[in-house]
Amino acid sequence: MPVKASDIQKKLPKGGKLHCKKCGFPTCLAFAMKLVAGGVDVEKCPELESDVKEWIIDAITPPIRLVTIGTGDNALHIGEEEVMFRHEKTFLRAPGLAVLVSDKDDDQTAESKLNKIKELEAEWVAIQLKADVVAVKYEGNKDKYLSLVSRVAQENLPMVLMSEDLEVLFAACDLVADKKPLVYPITKENIDAALPVLKEKGVPVGVRGQNLEEVTVITTQLKAAGVIDLVIDSSPKNLQDAIRDYTIIRRSALTQTYRPLGYPIMSLLPLQAEDAMEEAMVASTLVTKYASIIVLSDLNKDTLFPLLVYRMNIYTDPRVPLAVEEKIYEFGAPTEDTSVYVTTNFALTYFAVANAVEATKAPGYVIPIASDGLCVLAAWSTGKFLGDTIGPYIKKSGLEDKLSNKRLIIPGMTARLLGEIEDELPGWKVIVGPKYAEDLPGFMAKQASK
């Protein structure tokens, strides 16, 4: 639970009532509020004992650390999640989907994997979706590995450098240090050797333990040395272990502010799948169950698209339905004999209709009536999609002047609105369309031949 400003205020001088303004804020409470919101240094209050300062810093530090991998617009920001369950608020930072390349891949394979990130970019209700991370794994050929790392760096995507050989790992890191790659794995075995170097590099670090206890030991040691941008992998062997580990990680951080596990999770579990379909299934489960970087063996046109839509679904904010703006959308080159289609402004609904109207190959006007981003039936049953909301909007739209044949198609699901709408719109021919927008092309072809 995030700390409240009033709790911070109580720890400030004189129980937060000194109000000396040295911090630049009019009151202690104002300062406390800013501390909680982030964006001011606790040092600004000169009156604090060091133990109080430490308490405050701890209290305002988010339970799961925000870690950034990569730089610029493509950087991946993960962590700082606030809830166990999306219905409590929302999941905030969608996991990165990483494709694995290695020095064992021949050049062509590696290139094609990189290309596929772009090629397989998809669109869903006007939102662009794609895989967004490249994991580069060392499998024995150092020269080839290093040149692959340099090659991947040109893509400007967040990178995970994976090497069991520390020397190779750091050599790769040096090549692309300015790209802020994640270096992985730091383990119980290599931490002593790695630590001095990690302190210098300032890159995010991927910790791997054989179980949660081991992860805890490593993260604690790294943190003590000031290395705090961590991502953790507890090496689950199957989904059952993953759900156990990832639940405990998220829960211990959020409910008990247990710092040693307060980091985002990386999962390599999909790599154990037997084929691409299974890999996508495992990956989707991990999207729901708290992973923040999910490594895939390859990108596959048959499986990536559902996974991308899936990730978007789970990370959609349940408090705000995706909606489109209420206005007249034109398709093709409208004439005075163009059909008008009315629907609701729920993004999914609108795009279903818009796609179908495009598929009729005839021009069309589509009007999504403002209805709180609800689907047709929910909008109708809550009174947001009725004759007296639809009629007036169409009247005001100016379409009446543009059209000689005024033809309005309404959703088949709301056939019962026919009478109300006809009453509102004298001079219009109101037609009840098919139940599913997908059937519009066939339906309109029949209408035309009537």
């Binding site: 999306r86 040693p260 989707s284 048959d302 599913y436």
Partner: protein
């Protein structure tokens, strides 16, 4: 640190419910932890998958993929159901009363006779699912309850408007029922309260409504998840009924599923898996390939 320091305390157990009759029955429910949390409590059994069979031929625009599996049997619910059980290993059959949506008078007696015929022909228990038209469903399900007395069917959906009549028939002839509410935990609870005034609590399954990947799956996921919380974390007696999900038919309606077979298989499998993760105790699936994938995932879990 020990991971047990962070275990959750649970207060409720989802009711167990037996579908079927002696010699062919399946038990659902019984869990007293969040789904798949066997590490911190008792997950009595894995969810059960039922396969969907239509009692009338599906429409022309039915997914090609499904037709490739069932095209040879769509004319006969008996053969279709047998194929699900014998070829694909279905643990349960869900007979969807598509015939109720056909144009013209519905011959309720014929619909019920067909259900009985399927029940007699298969070795697994059966769910019977109406089309969602409350009057047509009421008439048909009442008759089916009578004709299939003693079969221990799971009948639904019961909605606010028709729950009395169907539930009474179910009670008289020894069946369980599915109470359906539109994606809202308060409405789900209200319905359970109404129903339990005269109907045995341990013969109710909740259907909080399924929507498919890309088409509202996120809503269903969160509603299922909340229902399960209220049952096992808060121990609310009116919410301890097992949950049913209906991902098969919903997923294959998506045009993405129809246009690309692999997408379709995953569309259904991902929707199903997600609702199982959220707390569904039974899922009705359509494609044997999707079912295989989900079962493969289930293979990574053990019960406790």
């Amino acid at each position: 640190m020990q991971i047990s320091d962070f275990f959750e305390k649970y207060k409720g157990t989802v009711q167990e419910l037996t579908i079927g009759k002696e010699g062919k029955s399946v038990i659902i429910g019984g869990d007293s932890v969040l789904p798949f949390h066997s590490f911190e409590g008792t997950m009595t059994r894995l969810p059960v998958i039922a396969m969907e069979v239509w009692d009338a031929p599906p429409p022309e625009n039915w997914a090609e993929h499904l037709r490739s599996h069932f095209g040879d049997v769509v004319g006969s619910p008996v053969l279709w159901a047998k194929k699900c059980v014998e070829t694909y290993g279905a643990e349960m059959i869900c007979l969807y009363l598509a015939s109720l949506a056909e144009d013209g008078e519905v011959d309720v007696a014929a619909v019920a006779a067909r259900v009985k015929e399927v029940a007699d022909a298969i070795t697994v228990p059966m769910i019977v699912y109406g089309v969602g038209d409350k009057d047509a469903d009421t008439a048909a399900l009442k008759e089916i309850a009578r004709v299939c007395a003693g079969e221990g069917l799971l009948l639904g959906p019961l909605v606010k408007e028709n729950l009395n009549e169907i539930a009474e028939a179910a009670m008289e002839y020894g069946h369980s029922v599915i109470a359906q509410s539109p994606l809202d935990i308060n409405l789900a609870k209200e319905l359970n309260i109404k129903l339990t005034k005269f109907f045995p609590k341990d013969k109710i399954v909740m259907d909080p409504m399924t929507s498919a990947l890309g088409y509202g799956m996120d809503y269903s996921f969160s509603v299922f998840e909340r229902l399960k919380h209220v049952a096992v974390l808060f121990g609310d007696d009116m919410m301890k009924m097992p949950i049913i999900a209906n991902p098969g038919r919903e997923s294959w309606r998506a045009k993405e599923a129809k246009l690309n077979e692999q997408h379709g298989i995953l569309w259904e499998a991902m929707t199903t898996m997600t609702l199982l993760l959220a707390g569904a105790n039974v899922a009705i699936m359509a494609s044997p390939d999707s079912m295989k994938l989900v079962k493969k995932m289930m293979g990574q879990f053990t019960v406790s």
